[in-house]
């Protein structure tokens, strides 16, 4: 009997031990999840029996990939792309071939969406000439990507180099801003000026398709991102004058700059004109200056009543000026603008936005979109002299805007 008990116990125990210890997945290592530089060519060759090519971002922004009127539905009179402004086609879509040789871009993620300014989008920066062997580029290139993925930076960190297979996606312009996208029909009847906004336009790439198309190359490295440093007069010389050079401007859109020696003027852009923003009195019933209700309040990004355009506030060096853009959904949107006495730099993505109403051929104003408030006058925020230190203050209902 003793022997039989032992036998049965062993019979029961053996599958327990055997099965519970096998078949479990091992932990993944960084080598498992990031593509190694040395193996990249091999991986891409295996993926593209018909060959492949890595293109520079600016090549993707040019013909034959991006054309003036776009190839998508351009022959259809029924289903239009979104309206043009005058003779200028502000919206276009060029689909990229599904089949044939692989079309790749290789660049580094430059943005972080935690602050709320880059919702469901990535801005890429390319500093090496991958199209021609990989030498350093004279001028870094930038490109926007719209992805239908909330908290996209959680997967695609700032500083992460990625390589994207663009076949089957599209390159288009949204308010003249080039972006990697898919065609999307804007049918939002609840939009203000809905009729103007209806039509085909660049839309967000479905998350699943973007993840399929993208590989991560090595560990992220923010230090490899390059912010071109300018003061406003240099910027005017180097960039602002290019505003009317449509093709040149498109190439400059989405590049990274650090604008030095500027202060906020307390003004906003009013369809190309400059206007003073509204101060909040603190009265309980006050609507003027209340960023929840007044789109011209003296905060970075007061309400747009959910229209969703970025709010623009002027910075100046005393002579020239540029705009700093903030989404009303940004975490710092309801912080008051710093007083003019605080001087420092603003770091961000150079933006070039030309929607119908906003288009101002003579304005010559670009805007910079920072990732977070840390990139706004950090010198003033960290100033050793408390009298010159800017301490950001958030709007609070019932409390008047502090005088500084």
């Amino acid at each position: 009997m003793r022997k039989s008990i032992y036998t049965y116990a062993m019979l029961l125990a053996m599958p327990v031990i055997a099965l519970m210890t096998s078949c479990e997945a091992r932990q993944l290592t960084p080598e498992d999840v990031f593509v190694d530089e040395t193996k990249l060519a091999e991986v891409l060759a295996a993926e593209n029996p018909e060959g492949y090519k890595i293109y520079n971002l600016n090549s993707l922004k040019s013909a034959p990939f991006m054309t003036e009127n776009g190839n998508f539905m351009s022959d259809s009179s029924l289903y239009r792309t979104r309206s043009a402004y005058g003779s200028l086609q502000l919206f276009s879509i060029d689909t990229l071939p599904v089949n044939g040789p692989g079309i790749y871009i290789r660049a580094r993620v430059a943005t972080d969406d935690y602050g709320g300014n880059f919702y469901k989008s990535l801005v890429l920066q390319q500093t090496q000439d991958w199209e021609n062997g990989g030498a350093a580029l004279a001028e870094p290139q930038g490109l926007r990507i719209s992805v239908d993925m909330g908290s996209v930076s959680g997967l695609y960190h700032q500083g992460q180099e990625i390589i994207i297979r663009c076949n089957g996606l599209a390159i288009g312009r949204y308010a003249n801003q080039p972006q990697l996208c898919v065609p999307s029909y804007n049918n939002n009847i609840f939009a203000s000026s809905a009729e103007q906004k209806t039509g085909w336009a660049p839309g967000r790439i479905p998350a699943a398709r973007f993840r399929r198309a993208t590989r991560m190359l090595g560990n992220p490295d923010v230090s490899k991102l390059v912010w071109e440093e300018y003061n406003l007069s240099e910027l005017k010389t180097a960039y602002l004058d290019k505003f009317n050079d449509v093709e040149g401007a498109r190439k400059l859109d989405a590049t990274l700059i650090k604008l030095t020696g500027v202060h906020f003027t307390g003004e906003y852009d009013n369809y190309g004109a400059v206007a003073n923003c509204n101060h909040y009195s603190g009265a309980d019933t006050a609507t003027v200056g209340n960023p929840e209700l007044d789109k011209n309040a003296c905060t970075f990004g007061p309400t747009t009543e959910n229209v969703g355009y970025p709010q623009s506030r002027y910075v100046s060096d005393g002579t020239n000026r540029a705009l700093v853009s903030t989404s009303e959904y940004a975490r710092y949107a309801y912080y008051y603008l710093p007083a003019a006495k605080y001087i420092g730099s603003v770091t961000g993505v150079l933006s070039y936005y030309m929607d119908n109403g906003k288009y101002d051929p003579d304005g010559g104003e670009w805007s910079i979109t920072p990732c977070s408030m840390d990139e706004i006058l950090p010198e003033a925020q960290q100033h050793s002299d408390p009298a010159q230190r800017w301490v950001p203050k958030e709007w609070k209902k019932g409390v008047a805007q502090p005088e500084e």
């Binding site: 599958p15 049918n187 699943a208």
Partner: protein, 1102 residues
């Protein structure tokens, strides 16, 4: 045993003695029911398998012997007057089919499917009792369809083990996994039909089951078995040893059972992506004296198993399989499931029975039970939702924002206006989930008509990824989760992991005791007195299972962090003011860095106490039996927490901003006064335990019944019950993970000034049934009509609300339900070998009134504002239009026909054809709020976006007239909260009918398959018992469920609570929401019955 004892004193009467033994083994059958059919007298066998029946009439009698696990036997006997009539041994044959079915059933009830929102598929009623034709033929056959006895929720069925109550006090259900795989532990049980006279508890509106685990019930010897199946586990081995009653008067039985399946790496089959390991043990010992017995029992089943989830019809269609499981993905080439349940319920029980004298005896039992139950899930911080079936990842998400105003009903008009110009909005997309076409467009690869407002290539690309079951698209992309963490380690080495696999623990610790006393010293009267006590503690916390390559997790709430700006500005605070709101523990010394197995997130307990006392008098006369019983039930609950959550702290801030008597009522209890005082004194310390307010309830119940014995073969039974029931803890606390605030009617109860207030929180029920039973040699069965009405039920739901744009808890009270129907069963013997059994249950289970729901944001954000005074409103109250809807507890029409075959050479076979209908989807209360139809809630606040507004305009009018609705918002008015609709077309419940496709969002959907043939399920089984020399035997049984592989049988599901909404640009908050016509944005999720599946067992006894 006791019936035998009563009879020992009088042998001068006509009596019958006998012994029941198992064939071949010659082992006594303990607890078998022996009935004389003509005189309708019954008893049970003692530990030696013996029975005695006294005071009989001399006549020809049929002796019916029934016992769990055996085929019923019928013997004829001629009773001689004034003699002790001694029968030969009655041999019972084991019913190996029933035994195998019990085992399958036990497995099924354990495998609850739980989805992301914690919903579980309804359990099937699992109690079976071979002595009732209806019960024994429904519990297995109808389990596939998730039939529930009389349509009651699972908490209405009470489960006992040796007289100790084992339903959870927190959630009401019985946990089958405690006995996982231990088919011998759960073999013997007594099952009481609803509201009958009982002997171990007072009972309730549902059935009561008492598992009997005394070792003396088990036949002496070894039993080893092996089983193979294609269900969630693939194989099972087990061994049982029973000593029988030894010379020392002890009996010991022990069982070990191991069930297992490695990860299933096949897509589209039962159990895809699931693993299963469970080792069950059962040990019972019993000491028998002349007038007493002691039972010592312990069992448990450490189990680790993967889970699967309900998904939308779109996902089932795209993947082409009802077995698609979104919870798993590949990691380093191997399957890994993100939802792994680990459970272990070690239980110890001691029970003692003592016979004081021939006419009185008692039974006392005590038990202790610790339940480790946890499941894992992916949590994420500042990273994309990792669920593959997240709605944005599906092709239908491309339709979002593409759906035109349905007021323009023809596609021609949608494309062009009257002048032939292009209309400002494009064509609507598609076809609904039921296949109804709507608009023109191209046919996508998935068969849906799409566009032209969606790009064909783009749509089909995504469809192709789904149809090809692309691993990165349709399963969890573990590589991406690791990559996110490894990248984060580089960019922010001290930052929070982007993804972790966390383990959510819901442990229970409980101790219970019971005492039963029976007295029969008065003629015709049996008095039973019972006392039951139970202390239970629900223990809830989180730990980290796997950091997925990250350095650490920072313990703050991802959603509070994300919403902090909106939360601050909506409430008039700055982000700095409410910096604590993100924290899961606000004490300054709390270490938010979690990188080991310690508790984080939440760590609280719900302490629950219960004391019941009941008595029952049963009067037995020749023609009539009567009984009545009364119970008083005291219960209490109290939450204590070891972590002070920032959202709870924030609510104290909001309360401070409020004035008036209501502020305290809404935002805290005694615990929070303490928090505020300690915070003010700077004395908050991590690890401190805070006790919330205790809540006490007292619930009476009364029942009575009568049996009229028309003759020995026919009887009528009438039973009735009235009771109140305190709410379960899960429905009492508005957000128990965050704070200890209770629903408003418990606040009313706690501050009761009259009896009505005292019972404000209790559900009240009356129930009655009438049964006709018949018992002939050829045919036996019963017909029962039942009626139950309950009032003032409560239910808590949580969901993301797109109107308030935050997570909302909705406490619903005043739920009234009516259950009525007929149960019928008849078993007919067809010759020597065949029995034909017909069973049917036709019910009508409905909500009989509208309910009232109070909604509040979990993070304390205002729900809306008064559009005139601009005052913020933190709680909204509205009517939920439930009246007339069906209760979704499984099919309400069920019928089956079973043909059983039994050959004396021990061949068994049966075929069962079952039909199920009237099965309805659970309705989301958030989609049936009165304010959605009228624009104004019961409390007078305006709804931000409703079905009748200019943009949706979905309420169906008569003759194109404008709909208008008024709601009486005067709380003093007798018609407070009632709405009057003008010009609307109303449905049966008085609810305005919505235009297609809005009706899909609100109407209760039938789950019955479109093709009536798919409402049938066919099961079959075949078995053979081979007797070997020396009392050995081998039994083989093959049970096949759903023989025709019907994969169109939906068993349940639910509407998602979210409504599709769009923001109307250019409008201020609280006036900017529009319900869109995109009924496909948050469609219902469904559970399907498995297709063909089998269970093969081989058992060797020696």
């Amino acid at each position: 045993m006791f019936v035998l004892a009563i009879g020992l004193s009088a042998f001068a009467q006509t009596s019958l003695k006998g012994r029941v033994v198992a064939n071949n083994t010659d082992q006594p059958v303990v607890g078998a029911k022996v009935t004389l059919a003509n005189q309708n007298i019954s008893t049970t066998t003692n530990v030696a398998g013996e029975f005695t029946l006294l005071y009989l009439e001399a006549m020809d009698e049929e002796v019916l012997v029934e016992s769990d696990g055996f085929i019923a036997a019928l013997e004829l006997v001629s009773l001689k007057e004034n003699e002790v009539n001694q029968m030969d041994d009655i041999l019972l044959e084991p019913d190996i089919v029933a035994q195998a079915q019990d085992e399958v059933l036990l497995n099924l009830t354990e495998e609850e499917m739980t989805d992301d929102e914690g919903r579980s598929q309804a359990q099937a009623s699992s109690s079976s009792a071979s002595t009732d034709v209806f019960n024994s033929n429904t519990s297995f056959a109808w389990s596939t369809a998730r039939y529930r006895n009389r349509g009651y929720q699972s908490y209405a069925e009470n489960y006992y083990i040796e007289g100790l109550h084992f339903n959870s006090m927190e959630r009401g259900q019985f946990n089958y996994s405690a006995m996982g795989g231990l088919n011998d532990a759960s073999r013997y049980k007594e099952v009481l039909n609803p509201i009958e006279a009982t002997n171990f508890t007072f009972g309730g509106v549902g059935r009561s089951t008492n598992y009997l685990m005394g070792a003396s019930r088990y036949a002496q010897g070894w039993k080893v078995g092996a089983a193979g199946t294609n269900r969630n586990y693939k194989a099972r081995v087990n061994a049982t040893y029973s000593s029988g009653i030894m010379p020392s008067n002890w009996a010991v039985t022990a069982q070990l059972a191991y069930r297992f399946s490695p990860y299933i790496d096949n897509k589209g089959i039962i159990g895809e992506g699931i693993k299963y390991y469970s080792l069950g043990y059962f040990l019972t010992a019993e000491r028998i004296w002349d007038n007493a017995r002691l039972k010592l029992i312990t069992f448990g089943a450490p189990t680790e198993r993967g889970q699967n989830a309900a998904v939308t019809q779109e996902v089932y269609d795209l993947t082409g399989s009802i077995y698609y499981n979104p919870y798993w993905g590949y990691q380093a080439g191997r399957v890994r499931n993100s939802r792994i349940v680990k459970s272990f319920d070690p239980t110890v029980i001691a029970a003692y029975e003592y016979k004081i004298d021939e006419k009185q005896w008692f039974k006392v039992a005590a038990g202790y039970h610790y339940s480790w139950y946890s499941n894992s899930a992916i949590n994420y911080f500042q990273a994309p939702d990792p669920r593959p079936d997240y709605y944005r990842n599906l092709p239908s998400a491309m339709w979002d924002g593409q759906i035109a105003n349905p007021n323009y009903e023809t596609s021609a008009k949608q494309l062009f206006d009257d002048a032939g110009a292009h209309y400002p909005w494009g064509l609507f997309v598609g076809r609904d989930m039921n296949g109804k076409e709507y608009g023109a467009g191209f046919v996508g690869h998935d068969g849906n008509i799409v566009g032209p407002s969606v790009d064909e290539a783009e749509y089909n690309d995504l469809v192709d990824l789904w149809k090809s079951r692309d691993n990165k698209t349709t399963q969890i992309d573990w590589e991406a989760l690791y990559a996110a963490n490894y990248a984060n380690n580089v960019t922010d080495p001290n930052g929070s992991a982007r993804y972790i696999l966390e383990r959510r623990h819901n442990d229970i610790q409980e101790a219970n005791a019971s005492f039963n006393y029976v007295n029969t010293q008065f003629d015709h009267l049996k008095m039973t007195l019972g006392v039951e006590g139970k202390f239970s503690q629900g223990i809830h916390y989180k730990t980290i299972d796997d950091l997925l390559g990250a350095n650490q997790w920072i313990d703050i709430d991802a959603f509070a962090d994300r919403d902090i700006k909106e939360l601050a500005s909506n409430s008039g605070f700055t982000q700095e003011d409410i910096a604590n709101v993100r924290k899961n523990e606000i004490a300054p010394d709390y270490n938010e860095v979690v990188n080991n197995g310690r508790r984080f997130g939440y760590d609280y307990r719900i302490n629950m106490g219960n004391l019941k006392a009941w008595f029952q008098n049963e009067w037995n006369f020749n023609e009539v039996d009567l009984y009545y019983a009364l119970q008083l039930n005291y219960s209490s609950m109290q939450r204590t927490t070891n972590m002070l959550n920032g959202r709870a702290w924030y609510l104290t801030k909001v309360a401070d901003e409020k004035t008036g008597a209501d502020a305290w009522k809404y935002y805290g209890s005694a615990a929070y006064a303490q928090i505020k005082a300690w915070e003010a004194a700077g004395a908050l310390k991590a690890g401190t335990t805070y006790a919330g307010q205790a809540h006490h309830f007292l619930d009476p119940a009364f029942k009575l019944g009568a049996t009229y014995k028309i003759n020995g073969r026919n009887r009528l039974k009438l039973n009735a019950l009235a009771e109140t029931r305190a709410p379960f803890a899960r429905d009492a606390y508005i957000s128990q993970r965050v704070h200890d605030r209770v629903v408003e009617n418990i606040y009313t109860h706690d501050n009761a000034k009259n009896l009505k207030d005292f019972y404000a929180s209790s559900e009240k029920a009356v129930s009655a049934d009438l049964t006709y039973e018949f018992n002939y040699p050829i045919v036996r069965g019963r017909v029962t009509g039942f009626f139950t009405q309950s009032w003032n039920g409560s239910e808590l739901n949580g969901y993301y609300d797109d109107e308030a744009r935050t997570f909302v808890n909705q406490a619903m009270t005043g739920i009234d339900k009516r259950y009525m129907g007929i149960e019928a069963a008849a078993a007919v013997k067809l010759g020597t070998y065949f029995t034909l059994t017909g069973v049917a249950s036709v019910g009508d289970y409905r909500y009989t009134s509208d309910a009232v729901a109070v909604s509040s944001a979990e993070n304390g954000m205002p729900m809306t504002q008064n559009l005139v005074t601009k005052e913020l409103v933190f709680e909204t109250t509205d009517k939920v239009l439930l009246k007339g809807l069906r209760v979704s507890t499984g099919p309400q029409v069920n019928a089956s026909l079973k043909l059983s075959f039994f050959h004396p050479k021990m061949w068994f076979a049966d075929v069962t054809v079952s039909y199920h209908d009237w099965n309805y989807l659970s309705v989301a209360p958030s989609r049936r709020m009165q304010g959605l139809y009228t624009g104004v809630r019961m409390d007078g606040t305006a709804v931000n976006g409703w079905f009748g507004d200019t943009y949706a305009n979905a309420i169906q009018t008569t003759d194109g007239m404008m709909v208008s609705a008024t709601v009486d918002t005067d709380p003093t008015s007798p018609t407070y909260g009632q709405a009057t609709y003008e010009n609307a077309v109303l449905d049966e419940g008085g609810v305005p009918v919505l235009k297609y496709p809005y009706n899909i969002m609100t109407m209760q959907e039938s789950l019955a398959a479109t093709n009536p043939l798919n409402r049938f399920i066919i099961d079959a089984s075949v078995g053979k018992l081979i007797y070997l020399p020396n009392r050995q035997s081998v039994s083989i049984n093959l049970s096949i469920s759903n023989l025709t592989n019907n994969t169109h049988f939906k068993t349940g599901g639910y509407q998602q609570a979210r409504l599709p909404r769009a923001v109307r640009q250019g409008q201020p908050d609280y006036q900017n929401s529009v319900i869109t016509a995109n009924a496909w944005k948050y469609p219902s999720k469904y559970y399907y019955a498995w297709g063909i599946n089998f269970f093969l067992t081989v058992t060797y006894k020696f």
